[in-house]
Amino acid sequence: MDGSIALSLVQDGLVNGAIYALVAVALVLVFAVTRVILVPQGEFVAFAALGYAQLQGGTRPGTAGLLVALGAAAFLLDLIRARGRPGFALLLRGLGTDIAFPAAVYVLVDRVAPLRPGWGADALLTLLLVAPLGPYLYRLAFRPLADSSVLVLLIAAVGVHLALTVLGLGFFGPEGFRADAAFGGSFALGGTIVQAQQILVVAAALISMGALWLLFERTLVGKALRAVAVNRTGARLVGIPIALSGEAAFALASLIGAISGILIAPVTMLYFDSGFLIGLKGFVAAITGGLADYPLAVAASFGVGIVQSFAAFWTSTFMEVVVFMLVVPVLLLRSLRAPSVEEEEEA
């Protein structure tokens, strides 16, 4: 192995690592606020990437219909929970965010997609299509179980993941898609060829994480989310609505997923079931950060990306084995440092 190969491997590792980092951040965020291990995070990435590629091809992604269906289902569930006596405010809010909004997105995508409006509009439409999935899924699958144990929530998450994978096959078909890059250029840098899109991936990932940091440090919503993460009961006592903060966390997660998907769509080929493996590698990184430490999770993500590309070079047959074996020493180390793991307090 010479220097240019090592450089190429590091470069590939950093690009993949940036995506794992976004996934890991979303996993940590959702787990801290709702105690849900968000297995379907990878599906958000895949749905966004495949939807973006389909928009580029001038067709309406199948997820548009999913959005309308989930919105209607969430509204229906709200009505049932209100025992047939929904307040006026609830009705108005429901009709607006659950019925009118998805319908508007559907019509918009349906009209705009055949015009092939260019990458900027495609990206925006993709965000509109994928970001609202999070809150709807939370209200449908997780809010009714909000007080259950971590294990029950994990099982629900696996269920949602399986459902989304099967739906993905229906929406996108079994073959892979790779979108065209927004910026097609590439240039030589220190003996390796760097594509503009790769720079974009890493830069956009870092910017997204910076924005997230600002959100948590500087805004009321962000601080409320942190408060819930630190102590659910305490947060509830001081009047922070737990359900709403769960919805916000899921919205952020699916938004981050959508951004990751749009970013990697031109870098790699994705399939309806690619999301799971991406999510799993993000999870390895999130575990390294103890599902609580954002900077550590991000650093570990880049580590996972780089280990993966070097493992692929040295021993491609055992690449996945090497990547997932990383979990074992990490867990050992963590258990040595914090020998007693406290069970989450029951709210």
């Binding site: 073959e175 080929m269 491609s316 690449m319």
Partner: protein, 384 residues
């Protein structure tokens, strides 16, 4: 789980029965394919082919029962048992992947039901023993394609080859054949790597191949994932010729690979280049007939995977008249006679090649079955 396709298949069958009413002597065909899960790219078109399979062979109505096994070996076995116990199937076609088909071999022998395997694994029919007597394979052995390509490559003056394969049964089967066929033709493998169907990048493997400086690269993968390393090889500056297997013989591969897969040479079944064959070539009519009917029924281009089912039924059509003399469909006598008759099928032109079965060869394609073709201007062009 009732799959939507299964409902379509049942409907089609119900319609075909509508005219005459159920008759006890129908030939019942159980079909299990992987319409969902990792095998969906192959099994989807197979399921969509069920509706255009012949409604009548040798003067007998045919009843099809098609189920999805979701690329799950337990599910395909369950499907087979259901065909035997509930549907009294006279034969079973399936499954899509080698590992979902392996458990069917035992059940075929145990229930004395002929199995027409629609996947490539040679292990399914070799050697023909007490169990494998009941199994016939529609897809030609990988050996035929590997040998055809090896000969072509050697003729081009290629001496060293970098090899990249899927890390699954498909890649493994090809690794075995390539490791034999290439040295036989005076070529050496200078690097041998694997990657996964769902890998987001194969940069590491690609760099290792390039570092070994091979004359050519051979990729044993299928469908759109096969385009991933091809694109990366070109991106990283590999300029030599690239070779692939019949697993990429679909327009979607070319679409996914774009200009990076131009010039790629593959070996595949006659079906893929049927329209370029001379009019008097017997493969041409067979393949174009299926392609046209599939397109009419599904408004999508046909692929070789669905053609496996059509080929299976052509073999049955050739064998059934003999078997019907010895027993009534639904009886063990008929199934046994059908098995014996399939072994006698000779010189049948199919989408997959020219087939001659024998008691010792249950996948009897000869070398004429592999055609070498090249990607040119976004389409497969026959070169020999």
């Amino acid at each position: 789980m009732t799959h939507p396709y299964a409902r379509i298949a049942t409907l089609a069958f119900a319609l075909s029965l509508g005219a005459t009413g159920t008759c006890l002597a129908d030939i019942t065909v159980g079909i299990t394919v992987s319409a969902t899960g990792p095998g969906a790219a192959l099994g989807g078109p197979e399921m969509k082919t069920v509706a255009i399979l012949p409604a009548e062979i040798a003067g007998q109505k045919v009843k099809y029962v098609a189920l999805d096994d979701a690329s799950d070996a337990t599910k395909s076995a369950t499907n087979f048992r259901k065909f035997v116990a509930e549907d009294k199937a006279d034969l079973v076609i399936g499954s899509t992947l080698t590992f979902t088909t392996l458990p069917l071999v035992d059940i075929a022998a145990e229930s004395k039901t002929p199995l027409m395997a629609t996947t490539a694994g040679a292990v399914l029919v070799e050697p023909v023993d007490e169990k494998r007597r009941w199994v016939f394979k529609i897809v030609p052995n990988d050996r035929i394609g590997a040998v055809a390509l090896a000969k072509y490559m050697a003729k081009q003056g290629i001496k060293t080859v970098g090899f990249l394969a899927f890390n699954d049964a498909y890649g493994e089967a090809w690794t075995k054949e390539v490791n034999k066929a290439f040295p036989d033709n005076g070529m050496s493998l200078v690097a041998s790597e694997t990657y996964a169907r769902t890998d987001t990048s194969a940069i590491g493997q690609v760099l290792k191949l390039i570092a070994a400086k091979p004359d050519a690269v051979f990729i044993a993968a299928s469908g759109t994932p096969a385009a991933v390393p091809a694109r990366e090889l070109r991106e990283k500056g590999f300029a030599g010729p690239m070779f692939q297997t019949h697993g990429v013989a679909s327009p979607l591969f070319i679409q996914a690979g774009g200009k990076d897969v131009e010039g790629t040479v593959i070996s595949a079944e006659p079906f893929v280049v049927a329209s370029q064959l001379p009019d008097d070539n017997p493969f041409k009519k067979v393949a174009l007939d299926y392609a046209a009917r599939y397109k009419e029924a599904n408004n999508a281009p046909a692929t070789i995977f669905g053609a496996h089912l059509v080929d299976a039924m052509r073999i049955i059509a050739a064998a059934a008249p003999e078997a019907l003399k010895k027993g009534e469909p639904g009886s063990e006598a008929f199934r046994t006679a059908l098995r014996d008759a399939i072994e006698q099928v000779k010189g049948l032109y199919l989408n997959n090649g020219l087939l001659t079965m024998s008691p010792t060869d249950h996948c009897g394609y000869d070398d004429r079955s592999a055609m070498v073709m090249k990607v040119e201007d976004g389409a497969f062009k026959l070169i020999q």
